[in-house]
């Protein structure tokens, strides 16, 4: 056991910190899930890319720094500590890119990845459908073979597509074998959103942002994908989409998105909030709740160090990553609940802060966002089933 960083890692951290201190927007950007906010976020994304902070763990030829997993953790920790903006590009970078690395052709990798890193292509995910949420294998959107054109005609509807209204591309699963059921006969497709037969309709989210979209497909054409990647196409094998998606999903459920820095930074801000307001709020238990949130964030950070150690040494967390997802998502709710208790009667305010420094209330906003954590990327009910069945070996039926 060795919980110290190497000199190189310390130097990397110092570089991250210095750059972020100079460049991270202050005051913070407004939410990236509105049209105006999104534009400001894209400026930030381009700035990250220009200085090679957009995708630190990617190879240099795709815009990254070839950073190790440890360096990635350091970067994320510094990123959240600096209060730098939420990554509007995250669905592409964290969900799609791992699948392109694993399943994409060389042409697809060379075309999509640098454009994604640079923010030229903005990807949203097309998993959920109105009748396929937790039950992802129940999806019915289909891609009908068009042999003449050498590709697929899409029909159906995707929904809960985060930032769909602002994105340029969608990745998702479509039923390519009309006789198939469940997770068979699905294909993972990459779809430009500006082609004929695609309609995107944004709709309002709980927190007031218009960050969700429905995407309707009415005969939109996507080629097989062995030609120019610009037109979109198949990622991986036809009818092999479930495996590609699961790789992506496990990437989402696992380590990558939920870097511990997000929670240690949030609890550090919670501690600050407690110091400002804890003495005046009439709530004898809130001190304990803040301490608990702080401990939980530390536990999560250490758990992640253990996971990363395992991954680096070739031990995959596998289904245990469901534990990870349950813990961070419920920790996130609890820590925001503690913050709202500290805000007391002001917790309902959409804008908040001292005069002259009013900002969108980060704790209210964060609380609302936290409530989606136990739902998306596989509800925590399903994650608990996975823990019980695949980790603890309880019988499925």
């Amino acid at each position: 056991m060795d919980l110290t960083w190497s000199a190189d890692e310390d130097a990397f951290r110092a570089e991250c910190r210095a750059w972020l201190a100079e460049h991270a927007p202050n005051p913070p950007l407004p939410s990236g899930d509105t049209a105006e906010g999104f534009a400001l976020h894209m400026e930030w994304e381009r700035k990250l890319y220009a200085d090679r902070w957009a995708v630190v763990s990617w190879p240099t030829e795709h815009g990254g720094r070839g950073a190790s997993l440890w360096e990635w953790l350091i970067f994320e920790e510094e990123y959240y500590r600096a209060g730098a903006p939420q990554r509007v590009t995250q669905n592409g970078i964290f969900l799609l890119a791992p699948s392109i690395y694993e399943f994409g052709t060389q042409a697809q990798q060379d075309y999509y990845l640098p454009r994604m890193a640079a923010g030229e292509d903005l990807w949203c995910q097309g998993w959920s459908e109105p009748n396929a949420g937790s039950d992802l294998a129940g999806l019915t959107s289909k891609a009908v073979r068009d042999d003449e054109a050498g590709g697929w005609r899409l029909h159906g509807q995707k929904t809960w597509t985060t930032r769909g209204a602002f994105c340029t591309h969608l990745f998702g699963l479509f039923r390519t074998d009309p006789d198939s059921t469940r997770h068979h006969g699905l294909t993972y497709l990459l779809v430009p959103l500006d082609i004929d037969g695609v309609t995107v309709r944004g709709f309002g989210r709980l927190d007031g942002d218009e960050g969700f979209a429905e995407v309707f497909f009415d005969g939109a054409f996507v080629p097989d994908g062995d030609g120019d990647p610009a037109a979109g196409g198949v990622l991986g094998e036809v009818n092999g989409g479930w495996g590609v998606a699961m790789a992506t999903t496990s990437s989402e459920r696992g380590l990558t998105l939920r870097s511990p820095g997000r929670f240690t930074a949030a609890t550090a801000r919670l501690v600050q909030l407690y110091r400002e307001r804890g003495g005046s709020v009439d709530d004898p238990g809130v001190r304990d709740a803040v301490a608990q949130a702080w401990i939980d964030a530390e536990a999560y950070a250490l758990y992640t160090l253990s996971d990363v150690t395992g991954i680096v040494e070739g031990r995959s967390p596998g289904a245990r990553s469901s534990l990870n997802k349950i813990f961070w998502s419920e920790l996130d709710v609890r820590l925001h609940e503690a913050a709202l208790r500290l805000l007391g009667g002001e917790s309902e305010l959409v804008e908040w802060g001292p005069d002259g420094q009013r900002v969108e209330n980060p704790w209210l906003k964060g609380y609302q966002f936290s409530l989606s954590g136990p739902i998306y990327a596989g509800t925590n009910e399903i994650q608990r089933n996975i823990v019980a069945e695949r980790v603890l070996g309880l019988p499925r039926k």
Binding site: D282, D283, P284, G344, G345, V350
Partner: protein, 334 residues
């Protein structure tokens, strides 16, 4: 011994419920979210006509001369509908405060106006940093260290704020207490907080019930894996837990209203127990409702958020669960 509402009380509440079903459906609440006042056009005068607004006012000024126990079931119905009107504040707190503590002339004048529906009075208790419905109020009942004041809007500086609940028009108010405006001392203010906590607790129970009803309806219909998600034991237990929370909060709320009516020496303790339980219940039910709905509950196109955001606001209004449990502890544990 009889712990149940009378048939008259239930009939009155049902009449209000029928009115709200028609005039205050989610579409009407959405109108209130978007319009200038945060209220449903025309609805207040209907409630005035039914006598709800002046329920606690003496008959001589146009009220019904009834008690808190008669009002509480109606306020619960208002909660169920997420009624965006200052019913519990005005009918439940301001009217009895003015009735009991204002001088005769003021009481007669203001209560007559309120009972006739021609004006409203806004309430600012020390427990709350925000005042609802300050804009347009004919008078203010405001709490200072020395008690409750009856204050003219001319001398109140109003700074609007925006609530997560679009129909709640909240403001900060700034004013200078003076002996000229003092209506009653701290005990009158404490009584106002007890009433506020009790009626807000009733609203929260109503909101919780509606969130649970939406949830059980949704999970019985929504299919995943070929079956309604409500057939999964995890969802069943979520719903049972939600029901448990609200069903064991309600008796505390009804008892608190009864104790206010009876001027029970423990009325303040009972109000705190009610508010603590109702705040916790609404919180738990809201969380469960969100989780059982999944993505659809996270959209503003679906109605859940109308009730959820009202509940979030009321959970800390008139004292949080924690602060009321502290009051209970101080009283019971010494």
């Amino acid at each position: 011994m009889r712990f149940a509402f009378t048939q008259d009380q239930l009939d009155f509440a049902e009449a209000v419920s029928d009115l709200l079903a028609k005039e205050c459906d989610p579409a009407a609440v959405r109108v209130a979210w978007e319009n200038d006042t945060g209220r449903v056009p025309g609805l207040w005068s209907r409630l005035v006509e039914m006598g709800v607004v002046g329920l606690l006012a003496p008959e001589g000024v146009g009220g019904l001369g009834m008690g808190e126990i008669d009002l509480v079931r109606i306020v619960y119905e208002a909660g169920r509908a997420a009624l965006p009107e200052p019913l519990s504040t005005i009918a439940g707190v301001v009217v009895p405060a003015v009735r009991d503590h204002a001088n005769t002339a003021d009481a007669e004048r203001f209560l007559s106006d309120v009972c006739a529906g021609t004006s409203t009075i806004a309430l600012g208790l020390a427990a709350n940093p925000l005042v609802v419905g300050a804009a347009g109020a004919a008078m203010f009942v405001l709490e200072a260290d020395d008690g409750l004041h009856l204050v003219d809007p001319d001398v109140v500086e109003i700074t609007p704020e925006q609530s997560v609940d679009g129909s709640r028009r909240v403001s900060r108010v700034n004013w200078n207490p003076s002996s000229a405006t003092l209506m009653c001392g701290p005990s009158g203010a404490a009584e106002a907080l007890d009433r506020a906590a009790t009626f807000t607790a009733a609203e929260l129970c109503g909101l919780a019930d509606t969130m649970l009803t939406l949830t059980t309806g949704y999970v019985a219909e929504r299919k995943q894996f070929g079956v309604p998600i409500g057939s999964f034991q995890a969802i069943k237990h979520h719903c049972a837990n939600a029901m448990l929370a609200v069903e064991f909060a309600k008796p505390l709320v009804w008892r608190a209203a009864y104790s206010l009516t009876q001027r029970d020496p423990d009325a303040s303790l009972h109000a705190s127990m009610a508010k603590a339980a109702a705040s916790d219940a609404a919180d738990v039910v809201g969380r469960i409702a969100m989780q059982c709905h999944g993505g659809i509950g996270y959209t503003v196109e679906y109605d859940l958020h109308l009730y959820l955001k009202r509940a979030w606001s009321l959970i800390s209004q008139d004292g949080s669960a924690a602060s009321h449990r502290r009051r209970v502890a101080d009283r019971v544990l010494g």
